[in-house]
């Protein structure tokens, strides 16, 4: 008898020729090709895949990958003031210790009987977020803030039976692009102006645009541009008076020092959890949350998994499982609410670990130190002639717009100069908000030491002369 012998890759155990032969024999075929009997000749790919030569030894692969990755410069060896929805915060060692556990990293969709821990960890995540937000219902994470906001808007449309959403025009343009695509052609988006001096929502403009077609008013607090919007209750009241919902996007890490949106009338709250124990990972650490009150009319409109606590057949034992599964697309396909699939669960578990570590005092102290450091940065930046920080005359949290219009240099020139000094300047806003001219969005968190900020100031001093 002839036998096949071939190279056996470590990832493919049954390439062992003897094993292969044995399995073929069990199936009753001579070769693997016979198993593809249903794929007609004309659909067959004839050529060889155009791929580089394989690097099957782990060492060779490691060398190759390290070589490519060495062409990156990270925020570890540089000082970065980039934020704009992806924020550099300190990641406690235990967050990574937990999220790299094989048990969590490689689990997927098991039943509570194999994956009780996954259900409990995500239930705890929901519960911890519930405390932060002072709301009773929080979803298993969706993709990111942009998706969370998109779903928030669509939920409002379904709850009210209306098809227009008013959105504050200080929202991130990228986030708005996601929302627009997600809503088209079912829900239309109308922008509400801001006051140019303070950044705050122009309530007159809101009142002039809100109508019986309005499903909800969406705004962010702190806003994308960093300022705190103190008119939350007024905006919510205007929405409610018109039969619309108040929809608020929030940076959860601000909620040690800022009241949660549920305290100023928000009906649906959303945002990103990357800041809660997640790395920036070139934008791969994002995860979105959506939260509401525990009312059936809200709960039944969530597309996401909602893990709930229940009992089991053994007295006193906690069990966990899906709440109202039949509202999901897993249950009823296109009759479900939007869709559910693979989103960002691991970052939910991570955020749960983070909030457990931080505790009530930690979240307060964190908010305080971020406020102090960002104000210090603004104060120092404002010392330069022709530089205004913040641009908007409002209190800010973590991020702020720096106005370089009077400095004689463009944001691009400044950022280029800073880069030479191992500093990543804030995000250039000239594309997103052309009306602002040469402005940049700077982000300062607890990771920015006084020394880091002073280095920025010194480099800017040299740059601006």
């Amino acid at each position: 008898m002839k036998k096949m012998k071939s190279f056996v890759h470590p990832y493919i155990p049954n390439s062992v020729p003897e094993v292969k032969m044995k399995m073929l024999k069990e199936i009753g075929v001579k070769n693997i090709e016979e198993l593809y009997q249903d794929i007609p000749e004309k659909l067959r790919f004839k050529g060889a895949l155009k791929l580089p030569e394989a690097l099957p030894s782990e060492y060779a692969l490691k060398k190759h990958m390290e070589d490519i990755l060495s062409r990156n410069q990270s925020c570890k060896e540089n000082i970065s003031f980039l934020g704009a929805g992806c924020w550099q915060h300190y990641v406690p060692a235990i967050c990574d210790e937990i999220n790299q556990r094989s048990e969590f990293l490689t689990a997927y969709a098991g039943e509570p009987y194999e994956d009780h821990g996954r259900f409990q960890a995500l239930f705890e995540y929901e519960s911890l977020m519930g405390e932060l937000l002072d709301l009773d219902v929080v979803n298993v994470p969706t993709y990111d803030w942009a998706q969370a906001a998109s779903t928030t808007v669509r939920m409002a449309g379904r709850i009210t039976g209306r098809k227009e959403i008013l959105v504050s025009d200080t929202i991130s343009v990228d986030r708005l692009l996601v929302i627009r695509n997600y809503c088209r052609p079912m829900v239309s988006i109308i922008m509400v102006k801001h006051h140019p001096e303070t950044g705050l929502m122009d309530l007159d403009d809101l009142k002039s645009k809100i109508s019986s077609n309005t499903a909800g008013v969406y705004f962010e607090n702190p806003s994308y541009l960093g300022f705190i919007e103190p008119q939350g209750q007024k905006i919510s009241d205007i929405a409610h008076e018109n039969g619309a919902l108040s929809l608020v996007g929030v940076d959860p890490i601000s909620l040690g020092v800022l009241i949660p949106p549920s305290h100023y009338g928000a009906d649906i709250v959303c945002g990103d959890i990357q800041c809660l124990g997640g790395h920036i990972s070139f934008g791969g650490g994002q995860g979105g949350f959506i939260a509401t009150r525990d009312e059936e009319r809200f709960v039944m409109e969530f597309p996401s998994r909602l893990f709930g606590i229940t009992k089991t057949s053994v007295e006193g034992e906690y069990g966990f499982g899906d709440v109202a599964y039949d509202r999901t697309s897993f249950g009823v396909r296109e009759e479900g609410k939007e869709f559910v699939g693979t989103h960002a669960a691991l970052w939910g578990i991570t955020a749960g670990v983070y909030l457990s570590l931080l505790g009530p005092l930690g979240i307060q102290e964190l908010g305080k130190t971020i406020m102090q450091r960002s104000q210090y940065a603004m104060k120092r930046l404002s010392e330069f002639k022709g530089v205004k920080a913040p641009l908007f005359r409002s209190p800010h949290f973590k991020e702020f717009v720096v106005d370089f219009n009077g400095s004689g240099k463009t944001v691009q020139q400044i950022s280029k100069y800073l880069l030479l000094h191992n500093i990543f300047g804030g995000k250039d806003l000239s594309q997103e908000f052309p009306g602002l001219g040469d402005c940049a969005l700077y982000c300062v968190t607890e990771v920015h030491t006084k020394e880091d900020i002073d280095k920025l100031i010194n480099a800017l001093g040299d740059c601006l002369g």
């Binding site: 004309k42 194999e114 997600y182 697309s329």
Partner: protein, 532 residues
């Protein structure tokens, strides 16, 4: 060189070990909910306080917050010391069987393959973990190179012309395909007329659901006697209202539709676009492609076929490929190369905008790239071959299990998975799929039923991938055999399972009752413990 097949004459006798289930018991810590571990005053981590000079300059920093916006009462998070937080979540992890511990072949449709550990080292390095998506392009050339090259590789694997890695999972990739279909017809001036999308019942639920998000009426083709959607049914379904087709192949039954090119032709002739859901691509890598079947676009799940770990349900990537005619509709930005440097192109005239923030889930892109680099062209084909070999081996064995069957395509081979049925077992013994899945947990295994609706009665779906050795597969099969034997001999034993799991049978009634469901601990305390 390594993949050259050599024919040798001698035979080597392999010992056959009789597979048996193991005497398993999952860890059971009876672990409380984190809030129950709280002791006032304990700290899990301290944050870096502002330096003295900053404090002197700024004061407490929070005085500037308008009074009505100040949070005075801190959120009621638990207060737990660091080691206890660690211990708590480690215990929860032990209450979870990932693919690394499980023979995770019972989660059909999900391609639970090995996620190489070396790739975790890469994504956790500071060159990835501490990379900001808005950095100057000159500082992220390595990351952009990986994205660009993976795009090239996937072009080869699919025959498509351009990829986007922005979608954060398969469902979001389906939404992106539906969005492109919509934008395309809008550009053609036909978006209001073309308001129907066609899919099949054995395609993923999101093929129907994401189309509905874009406002489409969904037409679902059901299977004919051979388990496949029928060409005649499609002919009747298409019209001037057809916007597009969203379909998997092989479908979740593991049956490859040999007439798929007729399907795409019928839809294209009717003016629709064809989107290929390639969530089930693991058995056809290097064998057949979206291009040969005349699709306009397709997507691969990098967290399934291309080895990025599933992470309890994400983060993930649905890598979306389109023909060059549709490149201008892709979400922005796309990564390009000008022979000197890699750069982001935000300027696509018909772009649908964005579907996810920034550039998608780069760590998943990186892992897929590294996985392909490790295997190469022949290796990818070997992945497909062995995935199909393993699947058909299991098919032969499951068919022989008492009470199990593999509906449709009798006598045919399958591609990478099979949707089986316990209908006979259920009729004979009263033991349902759910009962079997719970009993399998006692042997350290997961068995998933299937997506709804249960067209196949008492369904279960097994997809072995290329990752598990024959011995592991045999052990899993021994588990199934043991449960079926028990079902016939002592059905109550199965119906009362599990016995060796972390928990016992869960009361689902609470979870569907608005008066009783509790999605958070605070809701639980209010609804079940009488707290205000």
């Amino acid at each position: 060189m390594p993949w050259v097949i050599v024919w040798v004459k001698e035979t080597v006798k392999m010992k056959t070990k009789k597979a048996k289930v193991r005497n398993f018991h999952q860890a059971k810590w009876d672990e409380p909910v984190i809030f129950e571990l709280s002791t006032k005053g304990e700290r899990g981590i301290l944050v870096p306080e502002a330096e003295k000079e900053i404090e002197e300059h700024i004061g407490d920093g929070i005085g500037v917050i308008p009074e009505q916006m100040r949070r005075k009462k801190p959120p009621a998070l638990p207060e737990v010391a660091q080691m206890r937080v660690l211990k708590h979540f480690l215990r929860l992890s032990q209450h979870c069987l990932g693919a690394d511990l499980n023979v995770d072949i019972g989660q059909g449709t999900c391609t639970m393959k090995y996620s190489p550990k070396i790739n975790e080292e890469f994504v956790r390095s500071s060159q990835v973990a501490e990379l900001h998506p808005l950095q100057d392009e000159s500082t992220v050339q390595g990351a952009l190179e990986i994205m660009y090259k993976l795009d090239l590789y996937l072009r080869g694997i699919s025959g498509m012309d351009w990829f986007s890695f922005q979608p954060g999972g398969g469902s979001q990739a389906i939404l992106t395909m539906a969005s492109i279909i919509h934008a395309y017809h809008e550009w053609q001036g036909e978006s209001s007329q073309r308001d129907e999308i066609i899919t099949t019942i054995f395609s993923h639920p999101s093929d129907a659901a994401a189309a509905a998000v874009k406002g489409y009426k969904v037409i679902t083709l059901y299977q004919g006697g051979d388990g496949l959607p029928e060409v005649e049914a499609l002919r009747k379904a298409v019209s001037e209202r057809t916007a597009g087709l969203l379909i998997t192949n092989p479908e979740d039954t593991g049956i490859f539709n040999p007439r798929i090119a007729e399907f795409t032709k019928i839809v294209r002739d009717a003016g629709g676009l064809c989107g290929y859901d390639q969530a089930n691509a693991n058995g056809i890598l290097g064998i057949t492609r979206a291009n040969e079947a005349d699709f306009d676009m397709c997507f691969f799940n990098l967290h399934k076929t291309f080895s990025s770990p599933h992470g309890c349900g994400g983060p993930a990537t649905g890598a979306l490929g389109v023909r060059k005619e549709l490149k201008d509709f892709l979400p922005v930005p796309v990564v390009e190369y000008d022979e000197e440097k890699y750069f982001l192109n935000h300027d696509l005239p018909h772009t649908i905008g964005k579907v996810r923030s920034f550039l998608g889930v780069f760590p998943a892109v990186l892992r897929a790239y590294a996985w392909i680099m490790s295997l190469g062209a022949e290796g990818l084909k070997e992945v497909a071959h062995i995935a199909v070999l393993n699947n058909n081996y299991i098919l032969e064995k499951v068919k022989k299990l008492r009470g199990a069957s593999a509906p449709f395509a009798k006598g045919r081979h399958r591609i990478e998975q099979v949707r089986y049925s316990w209908q006979d077992l259920s009729k004979d013994t009263g033991v349902t799929t759910e009962d079997v899945t719970l009993r399998m947990a006692d042997f350290g295994f997961h068995l998933w039923s299937s997506h709804h609706p249960f067209i196949v009665p008492q369904p279960f779906t097994i997809e072995p991938t290329e990752s598990y050795s024959k011995e592991e597969i045999d052990e899993y099969l021994a588990g199934l055999e043991k449960v079926t034997e028990e079902a016939y001999e002592d059905p109550d034993k199965v119906k009362n399972a599990p016995y060796s799991s972390v928990v016992h049978r869960i009361d689902h009634s609470t979870l569907d009752d608005p008066e009783k469901w509790a999605v958070t601990w605070r809701a639980y305390l209010k609804k079940h413990k009488g707290q205000k």
